[in-house]
């Protein structure tokens, strides 16, 4: 009897100790999906938006599609066109909308997105002017290590400006798996500093894809040469690729920066426990996402057989 009592007490204690982790019900307010609107408008091209809806973070069955989407484009205060709506392009499930009007630098665009499921969402963007590029050239090619060093000299006007450098396959613009490296301080992100700096390491930037954004904080109103390196070792070396330099709207920079910070410190993950939450920047009223603008780029196409050209 005594032993039974002891066992009973021990069992109760063990159950208590073992129940340190358990699944709990979500006791917050059930939030409704949001209309998600994304798109970067580029001068010289037509307007385009990707539209879908968000999903509840604990849901496993997800429906992104938004019903009855209509998008109107206003340019400089006047209605210009309704964008053509194309559902489910490529592998994506979002709704893709495209216009016909060729956008110009300095255009003030306003998009109105309507759907039977959501309130009308709005987004506004002004297309920036192209950067003044004094020179844009390769500095050296190192076949042994698989790198090409570039230098682009820009003449920056007074005021805060935002720039983008991107690489993509000249034959397939969607293919953007190119490695990008720079020790240039313009790419340093204040939130990345800390432990690395303490250990004496520099805050080198490793990027890829379509967006490698930087501001003119270090050279506002002056000429400046940005140095960067492209790694071609791991990619198809025989295919030509494109390097683009453009000016972008601040909203894109903010969105990209906060997105990166969010992904580093996801509040719904363990790392997020030890970091301040990040609210990703959005300029979409009554919705979420980013509708931003990009200038006509200054472009250089490279192939490793020596062909290169600079055109604006």
């Amino acid at each position: 009897m005594k032993m039974k009592k002891i066992l009973l007490v021990l069992t109760v204690l063990l159950c208590g100790m073992a129940s340190c982790v358990k699944d709990v019900e979500f006791n917050g307010e059930q939030s409704d999906p949001l209309l998600v609107v994304n798109g970067v408008q580029q001068a010289g091209k037509t307007a385009n938006l990707c539209i879908e809806k968000s999903w509840f973070f604990l849901d496993s069955r997800i429906d992104f599609r938004v019903k009855d989407v209509e998008v109107d484009l206003y340019v400089n205060g006047s209605f210009k066109e309704s964008l053509q709506v194309r559902d489910s392009i490529s592998d994506y499930i979002f709704t893709y909308c495209e216009g016909q009007y060729e956008l110009c630098e300095g255009d003030k665009l306003r998009f109105e997105v309507r759907s039977s499921e959501f309130e009308t969402a709005y987004a506004e963007v002004t297309l920036p002017e192209s950067p003044t590029v004094i020179s844009f050239d390769t500095v050296s090619v190192d076949y042994e290590n698989g790198t090409i060093d570039f230098a682009v000299e820009i003449d920056d006007p007074a005021g805060t400006d935002f720039y983008n450098l991107c690489f993509y396959n000249a034959l397939d613009a969607e293919y953007s798996m190119y490695s990008f490296y720079s020790e240039d301080p313009v790419f340093a992100n204040p939130l990345d500093l800390g432990a690395d700096e303490l250990m004496g390491e520099s805050s080198d930037y490793y990027g890829s894809g379509l967006y490698n954004l930087f501001t003119d904080t270090y050279f506002d109103g002056k000429t400046y040469t940005v140095n960067f390196t492209y790694f071609f070792w791991d990619v198809e070396v025989f295919e030509p690729f494109v390097v683009e330099m453009s000016r972008v709207e601040e909203s894109l920079y903010k969105n990209k920066k906060t997105t990166e910070e969010y992904l580093e410190n996801d509040p719904n993950g363990i790392i997020g426990m030890f970091a301040e939450p990040v609210q990703v920047y959005s300029n979409v009223e009554n919705g979420v996402g980013i509708v931003s603008g990009q200038s006509k780029p200054v472009t250089m196409t490279i192939d490793l057989f020596g062909n290169k050209k600079l055109h604006k």
Binding site: G28, L34, L58, G209, Y211, A275
Partner: protein, 803 residues
């Protein structure tokens, strides 16, 4: 203005009957330990005074027959009658009461609770504190304070304090009048105060007397025991995680005494050899891991009485936490068949991580005149953090009869700290029978040592010096000078009205910039009946230092940094209203408060404590405003067999960061991290007899806030290196989710066996008795919310021997 008020009241004094000063110390008759906050009053007029932080009192009474009474919780009252003709010194020695009777301390209870002008203040008797159930059986001052209304705890088990909506860095924690910077051990699960060394704890939540300054939200005034002047006493105790020893006694009987306490955790003493044994067994001879964690506290106080007019005190506190590891690995290799080759390699890694406080203070009490008491203090306080690693390898090999050797070593150390030298003079002055004036000045020289990194790398090849690198980075100091001046008057305007009026002026000079702050303080008491009063108060506070800390837990990497040219001082305005009632040994109070905080700091979105260092901390914080309001109900019973309290707080605490370029939460208000609507604490203690006493604590509070992204969506497409859209979360509001409500029941039973030589006490503590899964953190995982609880139920046995 202030002196005009005091001078005008002197006119009344001169017109009144001639008055004389009665002054002296109130002490424990047995040990001569001074009693702080003891009441001394004239029974006919009920004019009275309370002993100051050194046990000294001053009364100004009209000449003639007086009947003087002194009382203090846990002591028999003392009464004496005499004809007052001159200034008189009466040192009162109170005898300890065998039983805490309700009658014994009535006078004291009325004086401080109902009749004092001060509000938002709670004194916690240490005797009571020791009977409160405690986690791991470790009585903890900070944890006990968390059970009071208006005080919120941080995460489960942590020692973080959030007073009336303020942050954890807004509490001024004083040990014998000297600030302590880091009061946490073991990530905040224990505080730095060893209850055996403590005499008295007072918490000020608002309406701060003018003598305090430098923090916005609270003052925790902790005083160490002076030591018994006549007999040696002590106790030894063993708990689940720590052992403690406390000894006090005379150095010169009746003149000099000491009190010394030491506490150390001993988990590592058991675990480290076991770890070494296991790793040696697993990894083979020559390989081992020796490591562990401990913390210790040392409190020492020496008290010398030169005369009734002069006393000298020396206080010392030293407390450290240390994580250490010694790793040794050895590899031998030989190949005699194909090659004539032998190799032996030894690697070592020593890792030390230490952080802790040192405080040393020398104080001189001098009675200049019976109605003028002076305390002069010189003090040194430091908080330091050290992280060191020593990594090395020695390799020896023989190849074709040639012997080679090489060695590599790397030493790395990180240091940071704060070092303060301060001097201050405080005066208690009773110019007239209805004025108690305190004034003083303080000067503190702060040295903030940012994180300094030292690296030493060395290489040696067969006796030849190879690569050698030695550097120290960021070896700079930030120096700042802080000065404070204050004056306050506790003014008995009439039998019904009492006013505490004060002014605190401070300056802070850093980077050739000087900040000034004039801080008015006022509180008024209106006595409605003998046991009912209404009080109102206002306090303006300024704060010049900030704590860079993670919200989740307290870490040694948490750094105190001063204001700069860009980061301006924080300040707050707080108003409070309250009603105070006393009935048959029960104290009741209800207080409402509103606090506006300006220039409070928060980390920018995304800042992680993994990447915080002092060099660029200003880039990672934003400045904004906050406000907090609430109502606190409190019922307390300090005397009798049955003691305890019940507290309930209804509170709101919000933040707004909408200054250009410093926006958080899209520039909209959001709840503060530890905003909790309801908070209930019930603390009950019952003494059955001399052998058994029991205690229970039940706490309930609204769950903590957390930030979750309730909606997920695809970001701008084609962004990541694989060409996929990245999934990001939409956070509609900071702190938008509440964990489930927190509640737990703690129990303690103490069994006393008294002998002629001493007393044995066995304690059984059960923390979180009904094993409620209180959330420490909630993480979304695989479509579910996973809640982690760190302390489901903790039963503890501890033993104490008192002699």
């Amino acid at each position: 203005m202030f002196f005009a008020i005091v001078a005008s009241s002197s006119v009344f004094a001169q017109n009144a009957k001639k008055s004389h000063t009665i002054s002296g110390y109130v002490t424990d008759a047995k040990s001569q330990e001074t009693l702080l906050g003891a009441s001394v009053y004239e029974t006919a007029t009920m004019k009275g005074s309370v002993t100051n932080n050194f046990g000294y009192y001053t009364l100004k009474l009209s000449e003639g027959q007086v009947k003087l009474k002194a009382s203090f919780v846990g002591f028999e009252s003392y009464e004496t009658a005499f004809d007052l003709k001159n200034d008189t010194v009466i040192n009162i020695a109170l005898a300890q009461s065998l039983q805490l009777s309700e009658v014994t301390v009535t006078g004291k209870a009325i004086d401080n609770h109902v009749k004092g002008a001060q509000m938002s203040t709670i004194e916690l008797p240490v005797t009571q504190l020791k009977k409160v159930p405690a986690m791991f059986g470790e009585t903890d001052v900070i944890k006990a304070l968390q059970l009071l209304p208006g005080v919120q705890s941080g995460t489960e088990g942590s020692a973080g304090m959030y007073v009336r909506g303020g942050g954890p860095d807004e509490n001024l924690i004083l040990l014998d009048g000297i600030p302590l910077y880091n009061v946490n051990h073991a990530a905040g699960f224990f505080s730095a105060f060893n209850s055996d060394a403590i005499k008295n704890v007072t918490l000020y939540k608002g309406n701060f007397p003018a003598r305090f300054g430098g923090r916005l939200s609270s003052v925790i005034d902790v005083h160490m025991k002076d030591g018994d002047m006549y007999e040696y006493h002590g106790n030894v105790s063993l708990g689940l995680i720590a052992a403690k020893v406390n000894v006090e006694g005379p150095i010169v009987k009746g003149k000099t005494s000491f009190n010394v306490s030491f506490r150390r955790t001993y988990f590592d003493l058991i675990a480290a050899p076991l770890l070494a044994l296991i790793t040696r067994g697993e990894m083979g001879e020559g390989n081992s891991i020796w490591g562990g964690y401990y913390f210790y506290d040392l409190n020492l106080k020496i008290n010398h009485k030169f005369s009734d007019k002069d006393r000298l005190f020396f206080s010392l506190y030293s407390g450290d936490d240390k994580v250490y590891a010694r790793i040794r690995t050895k590899q031998d290799y030989a190949d005699y068949y194909d090659l004539d080759y032998e190799m032996s390699s030894e690697q070592k890694m020593n890792f030390d991580w230490m952080w802790g406080n040192r405080v040393a203070a020398l104080r001189w009490n001098h009675v200049i005149r019976p109605n003028l008491f002076m305390n002069v203090t010189g003090a040194y306080t430091q908080y330091r953090h050290y992280l060191g690693a020593d990594i090395g390898s020695d390799t020896w090999y023989k190849e074709f009869n040639q012997t080679y050797s090489s060695s590599e070593s790397a030493q790395l150390n990180l240091n940071s700290g704060i070092y303060d030298f301060s001097g201050k003079a405080d005066f208690d002055y009773k110019p007239f029978d209805n004025h108690d004036v305190k004034f003083g000045a303080n000067i503190t020289h702060h040295t903030y040592k940012p994180t300094t990194l030292g690296i030493h790398l060395e290489e040696e090849e067969s006796g030849q010096q190879g690569f050698n690198y030695d550097t120290v980075t960021n070896d700079s100091r930030i120096r700042a000078l802080e000065t404070d001046l204050y004056v306050e008057d506790n003014w008995d305007i009439s039998n019904y009205f009492k006013l505490n009026l004060g002014l605190h002026y401070s300056t802070f000079t850093v980077d050739k910039k000087t900040y000034h702050s004039v801080q008015p303080r006022v509180s008024l008491r209106s006595l409605i009946t003998e046991n009912l009063s209404l009080k109102a108060g206002y306090a303006y506070m300024s704060q010049y230092i900030h704590l860079l800390s993670s919200n989740a837990i307290s870490l040694p990497t948490d750094l105190w940094v001063p204001v700069t040219g860009e980061i301006v001082p924080m300040n707050s305005h707080q108003v409070a209203l309250g009603a105070f009632y006393e009935w048959n040994g029960y104290e009741f109070s209800v207080e409402g408060y509103y606090k506006k905080m300006n220039n409070v700091l928060e980390y920018k979105d995304g800042a992680s404590f993994f990447s915080i260092d002092e060099t660029d901390w200003q880039d990672k914080v934003v400045m904004g405003d906050g406000w907090a309001y609430g109502i606190e109900f409190f019922v307390q019973k300090n005397v009798g067999k049955f003691t305890g309290w019940l507290g309930y707080t209804w509170a709101h605490s919000d933040r707004l960061f909408n200054r250009p370029g410093q926006e958080l939460n899209y520039g909209k208000p959001f709840p503060a991290k530890y905003d909790r609507r309801h908070d209930i604490s019930v603390v009950l203690m019952y003494e059955f007899n001399d052998h058994i006493d029991v205690g229970a604590t039940w706490v309930y509070s609204t769950g903590n806030c957390a930030t979750l992204a309730f909606q997920n969506y695809h970001g701008l497409s084609g962004l990541d290196m694989f060409g996929y859209s990245q999934t990001v979360g939409y956070i509609n509001n900071r702190n938008n989710y509440r964990y489930s409500n927190y509640h737990r029941l703690d129990l303690v039973a103490n069994f006393h066996w008294k002998y002629e030589q001493g007393e044995n006490i066995f304690s059984i503590n059960v923390y979180n008795t009904y094993a409620h899964n209180n959330p420490f953190v909630v993480i979304p995982m695989e479509g579910k919310l996973r809640q982690v609880c760190i302390f489901p139920i903790i039963p503890t046995l501890s033993w104490q021997y008192k002699f």
